[in-house]
């Protein structure tokens, strides 16, 4: 047998013999095998609602980052942004599955057929007013400068939350947060390096990135006021009060922007989160139309 056929044979049989290479790729739901019992004293409805907030943030930002694939400045950046998107998608799947495991499915379960897993029922069969993501992640990408500024803000904030959530009284949420911390550390580092390069690069890149900062900054107003769900869950040791991470987020962003020779805008007046209340802009409706169109066209299909 010629050498290359040996190679092909090895490839062909690497995943089971008999040439049946395409079979046996089973589908485990993200939380398969995990004990999803809710600890005493935690309201499952609140826990599920909180997981939707964090899960929707990750899913929506994944969609935004994915829009850069085939459009990025360098091939390395295609890979890096896809990588951040994949990490966030993984976090979203776990969080949506956690929401599903405690029965928080809203209208989605009635619309999706039984064979569709909870994560997909939640991702594909809720309308915009049922999404609980912050306004920060749904805003359009803008140019590459604005994209990395938004990624810096979002990853700094999510990392600060996740690091604290590792101590959550819900062990499933704590484990999901712990998995996310190293991922988000990379996202923040990657975004910060780009903000430095662009802020301190050429006059044009400085101007564009400052414009990106100015466009993203007002969205910070949506992040730091706790909803009633977060307040209750913080009291029971499950969630983090977003106000508790404000100083860390502000310090990190200020440090990076100053090093990048960018002007740090005034901190926006904080207000109750519109995104967490399901009040979204038309951009989210358009994003969801892309995300959900095919799945909704075939509600009885399995993929």
């Amino acid at each position: 047998m010629a050498h290359e056929e040996t190679v092909y044979d090895a490839l062909d049989h690497a995943h089971g013999g008999e040439g049946q290479w395409a079979f046996g790729t089973g589908f485990d739901e993200p939380l398969a095998g995990v004990d999803t019992t809710v600890p005493d004293g935690i309201d499952p409805a609140d826990l599920g609602a909180y997981c939707l907030m964090l899960g929707d943030d990750a899913l929506v930002l994944c969609q935004r980052l994915t829009q850069w694939v085939t459009a990025a400045p360098e091939l390395e950046e295609e890979v890096a942004l896809a990588n951040c998107g994949l990490d966030l998608l993984g976090q979203a799947r776990l969080l949506l599955a956690r929401a599903g495991s405690v029965g928080v499915l809203g209208r989605s379960r009635a619309l999706a057929t039984d064979s569709i897993p909870d994560e997909d029922a939640l991702a594909y069969f809720r309308d915009a007013d049922e999404f609980r993501n912050s306004l920060l992640v749904e805003a359009p990408n803008g140019d590459f400068g604005q994209t990395v500024v938004r990624l810096l803000v979002a990853s700094t904030w999510r990392l600060a939350l996740s690091a604290r959530l590792r101590e959550s009284r819900d062990p499933v949420l704590a484990a999901i947060a712990a998995k996310g911390v190293p991922e988000l550390t990379y996202h923040r580092d990657h975004a910060a390096r780009w903000v430095l390069r662009l802020g301190d690069g050429t006059p044009e890149s400085h101007r564009r990135t400052q414009a990106g900062v100015d466009a993203v900054w007002p969205l910070l107003a949506d992040l730091f006021t706790a909803t009633d769900v977060e307040t209750r869950l913080t009291a029971s040791g499950v969630a983090v009060d977003p106000a508790d991470v404000r100083d860390e987020v502000r310090d990190v962003l200020t440090m990076v922007l100053e090093r990048a020779t960018l002007t740090v805008p005034g901190w926006p007046a904080e207000q109750p989160s519109r995104g967490r209340a399901g009040q979204h802009g038309p951009e989210l409706t358009a994003l969801l139309a892309d995300l959900q169109g095919l799945a909704r066209e075939h509600p009885a299909a399995t993929w």
Partner: protein, 318 residues
Amino acid sequence: MSAPTLDRPAAPDEAALQAQFDATIAADHRIEPRDWMPEAYRKGLVRQIAQHAHSEIIGMQPEGDWLLAAPSLRRKAILLAKVQDEAGHGMYLYSAAETLGADRADLTDKLIERKQKYSSIFNYPTLTYADVGVIGWLVDGAAICNQVPLCRSSYGPYARAMIRVCKEESFHQRQGYELLMTMMRGTDAQRAMVQDAVDRWWWPSLMMFGPPDDDSPNSAQSMKWGVKRHGNDELRQRYVDMTVPQAAVLGVTLPDPELALDPETGRYRFGPIDWTEFKQVLAGNGPCNDERIARRRAARDDNAWVTEAATAYAEKHA
């Protein structure tokens, strides 16, 4: 393997170098970047590797068009990882070309200016999600048949890059087939989507092996130099023989009434390929040629300020 060039006192004459190169090829050893090689060998390799790298990068687009719309989060994760792999393949193939003195930015310019080609298959549109599965099964399957022999290419960096590419392509092919199997177990509409996608991609996938050997301008020299190992027709036949039984297991019909097992050879006979269509697509007149190139042009031009900024920053902080 040939001697290192660094401590060579004076350039040996070309005939001796050529003899050493020929001996390396004849012994089925690898040529490495610092070895002497005939200029035509270098040029031919740059052309082939660049074309291969361009195919990976352009190949991100047809499937990438479904990234935002993948119908389940699991499928989205699989597809995003796959498209990311293709960017990675492009990167290490461009790196292999750079070991021959080429420059990635220059090769990208040549792609955008249509001075270098990429695989014509990526000029067809992906109309339904079944196309994602069929690209994995048929297009990646054909690519594997083409590329596995390249793991033994006479040029070392190319051969080594191809080993990794082939492993990942093989994984992609399985994932594509698994998607199709799942769809075939689904609704009638899904089964119809799969058959329709097979109908559209089968013939273009056969064309991926290039024109018949007697009409393939670069094949003979590539074979002589050990850059290519098999003729286009032999590889195409292997692909057909491998794929027909898989189609039967899947439950789809390949759109060729002449497709039949030849009991004497044990190989499948198939109908004539429409090379007019192939030449049209190759000439730039396929359904998506313009859009594929326009996307790469936009990625380069719209983001030129980013690259300039990164360069300026690196110089300031050197």
